[in-house]
């Protein structure tokens, strides 16, 4: 789910940039903030950081004693993306394994769907392995699936999330790319 949050971060401006006139300083602060934001990639609380929408306020700068840099508290709004348990989302299959499939959902690369959570689907090995059910509904690389999120795990070292999802409820499963009346197969 997409989230919009108001945050306050501290932006450190090196002393060299402080000679500039008022507007250039503001630009330096915002560019530095964008930089820090892009570098952060994701946080456990907010999920994947996507974009800064507005800068609400730039507070008074505080000089750091030993370096001469100035610290500015900046209040801004940002959009992020995070998976929540129980949420219904769509993802695209990018790997098919015997144990299940791996999907991509928005910025998240590692969404795991175990075969045990794909009721009535059976693995069909081959050069292009797929999962098939009795009604000939196919799950293969490139299929868009609607799933429910069972859980999400934050990996501190990689600064990313892994998710575990399932199709074990009504109205979940393969969907076509474009919306239409008979969009999906019921499991």
């Amino acid at each position: 789910m997409f989230l919009k949050t108001e945050l306050q971060w501290n932006v450190v401006i090196p002393a060299e940039s402080l000679d500039a006139k008022g507007l250039m300083l503001q630009k330096a602060i915002i560019v530095r903030l964008l930089d820090d934001f892009a570098e952060r990639k994701a946080t456990k609380d907010l999920g994947y950081l996507l974009a800064l929408t507005t800068v609400e306020k730039i507070g008074e700068g505080k000089v750091r004693q030993h370096t001469g840099d100035v610290l500015f508290p900046v209040t801004f709004s940002a959009i992020s993306f995070k998976l929540f348990r129980g949420e219904i989302l769509k993802g695209v299959v990018h790997k098919v394994l015997k144990q299940g499939v791996i999907l991509r959902c928005g910025p998240i690369e590692n969404v795991y769907l175990s075969s045990s959570k794909m009721p009535d689907y059976n693995y069909v090995p081959g050069e292009n392995p797929i999962f098939l059910n009795a009604k000939s509904s196919k799950i293969e690389k490139g299929t868009t699936l609607r799933f429910i999120v069972i859980g999400a795990k934050w990996l501190e070292a990689e600064r990313e999330f892994q998710a575990l999802v399932g199709l074990h409820a009504d109205y979940l499963g393969p969907v076509s790319g474009a919306p239409s009346a008979s969009m999906y197969d019921l499991p």
Partner: protein, 201 residues
Amino acid sequence: MSDKGGKGFTAVPKGKGKGGKSSLKEATPKGKDDGPAKSKKTRNVQFSSQAAASTKGKGGQADGGAKKDKEPLQLKLENELPKGAKCLMDCEAADILQGVQDHMVILSKDPSIKLPVSFDRALQYTEKSTNYTDPESVRQVLQNLKTYGVTDGEICVMANVYPETADEVFALLPSLKARRIMLDDPVNDVLSELAKLKKSA
């Protein structure tokens, strides 16, 4: 950093801070060998302990999913939302991200300005999900359900799911099922309004 788990880590060669986590280090009593052999053992121990720690610890949700069957699989967003965060529907997010993209076309001339890595993927995701003609009207229509106790998170999931029938809504949002009697009519009304706002295929 490695001083944290200092017990017996004297000879751990540059454990990249991971040395700090593993308390299983004490279980390898052949402590005095320095060098690669020990570091291999150490590394193996750390890996398995880290995996164990992460399953048991804070990251337990993914593997613990099966154990969590006791708790019904429902959206309880409000407990997990960070402070001050607001839920956005996919269509609203699409508008905002597209706006940022348009600005970036102008700003990209400045090489010092860059967007987060996840931005492009998120934008693509929302482009596939833009099924409504007017996100603001969708929000207004769904806001009516708030008077019946439907939460912001449930409203957003409802919009994102692009439901055809009330059955679909209640199947995908089991948290609403309990109040179906009360919500059936309002949900049906909302669905007929949403149908008018859907983009034609």
